[in-house]
Amino acid sequence: MSVLKIKDLRKTYHTKKDEILAVDNFSFELNEGEFVAIVGPSGCGKSTILQMICGLDKKSSGEIEVPLNIKIGFMPQGDSLFEWRNVLKNCLLGLELTNNVTKENKEYVLNLLKTYGLKDFIHAHPNNLSGGMRQRVSLIRTLATKPDILLLDEPFSALDYQSRLAVSDDVYKIIKKEKKSAIMVTHDISEAISMANKVIVLSNRPCTIKNIYNIELENKSTPINNRKDKKFAYYYDLIWKDIDYHV
């Protein structure tokens, strides 16, 4: 079942000097439970697409169709935790803003925190957490509002390579376990292949779809293990050649 349909999405920016076509002719469909990664050269407008999907940015034309019962959750770049709130209060932010801090919802958030190894840190402040834990808190904050689709905007960009691998494994497992559909924007090709079912490769500005790959690994498992798959290098090579890196 499709949870999100995008047709001919287009975005132009207006500046004093110029009119910039950032996104053009972008169409795709997200099915329930799918994990889609969007990769492309930096500055091509990947994040703009996500921001249009969750309504943070206005589209110039085209259609974004979301069924009425489907909710979208956004996970921003970095972890964007509020240092002055403890872990629980950070996670309750979304519910607080919409006046939905009910006993039931709070219980749900507490359960998520316990399930994902943050039980002892519920009242800790973000300063006292590791990068990986912060990322988990950030994800739980988004999950707290019970979205069906998660939009991840370069979620691991602030982490060093080692924790990046571990955290992407973590986040992937949580998303799968909670049975969410997800769209992740990244500039890291291997991250995209290791996590997604489908990788959308974008061209340079104006950003259009260059190719869509269905990732069919021999032994689909967790992101870290997927990197060892025989076909991993094959996809990496394909996508690498697709992206115009101007070095």
Binding site: P76, S80, G94
Partner: protein
């Protein structure tokens, strides 16, 4: 238990800090002793340069005959009122300008001009309009602190992390929620440093005001001293002002520490 190496390290730090303290006190004592020595041996004219003992005598006699506490209180009172109003009005205006970019653009050049204008130039106008009273002095203090508060706090507000604002919007926050739950709390640091500058600014404004017109206050003592050519009184005034200024400044620092400790 710590290793010997660590203990030595701690000792070294303690010794270093002690040395700093001792040197600080030494400078003050050295200065006072030299000053008193030069005065006692009549190498400097105490009529013009005064002396530590004379300052001390002046303080005592002011306390006994001239209601020293009242003068200090007037200055502190005027400073605190100007400071409080400056912070309150400054932060409020900064918030309004953050919420409305159009207003900010309109007022930006006026703020810049007012900020670069030496506020003392407005003194005579304020006194003629407001009268020769404490209100005029408070307005003076307010004017001096409010503009810089608006500018620095507004700057902090507009520099709020764009990703966090995006997150708030994606969670359905309205403008007031973005302000009260993100922009304001994330700028407590900026606000506190503006507040720290403000306490000194307000004192400058008050002393300026008291120079221009006053019936009491430390500025009044200094001004009176200069009119009757009583250097003892002037230097005593400056000395008391030093103490009052540092007490008020450290009061604000203490307040800042208390607010910061609430969050960790």
């Amino acid at each position: 238990m710590y290793s010997k190496e660590h203990k030595d390290y701690l000792k070294k730090i303690k010794l270093h800090n002690l040395l700093v303290k001792i040197s600080q006190i030494f400078i003050l004592v050295f200065f006072l002793v030299i000053w008193q020595f030069l005065a006692s041996t009549e190498r400097i004219n105490t009529f013009i340069f005064s002396s530590p003992f004379k300052v001390f005598e002046t303080i005592i006699s002011l306390y006994q005959n001239d209601d020293l506490i009242h003068h200090i209180w007037v200055t502190v009172y005027e400073t605190l009122v100007g400071f409080g109003l400056g912070c309150l009005i400054g932060i409020t205006i900064a918030s309004i300008l953050w919420a409305n970019k159009f207003l900010f653009k309109v007022f930006d050049p006026y703020l810049t001009i007012l900020n670069s204008l030496p506020k003392v130039a407005l003194g005579p106008i304020i006194i003629i309009w407001g009268g020769a009273n404490a209100t005029s002095i408070i307005i003076m203090a307010l004017l001096i602190s409010v503009i810089i508060t608006i500018i620095s706090v507004h700057q902090g507000f507009t520099n709020t992390d764009e990703n966090k604002i995006r997150l708030m919007k994606s969670l359905g926050a309205n403008k007031w929620q973005i302000f009260s739950k993100l922009v304001f709390p994330s700028n407590i640091g900026t606000i506190m440093s503006a507040v720290k500058v403000n306490i000194s600014m307000s004192l400058i404004g008050v002393i300026m005001g008291e120079f221009l017109t006053s019936k009491a206050g430390i500025g009044h003592l200094i001004m009176y001293g200069s009119q009757v050519f009583n250097l003892n009184l002037i230097i005593t005034g400056v000395f008391i002002l030093c103490i009052v200024a540092s007490i008020m400044y450290y009061g604000v620092v203490l307040l800042e520490k208390k607010i910061n400790s609430k969050w960790d």
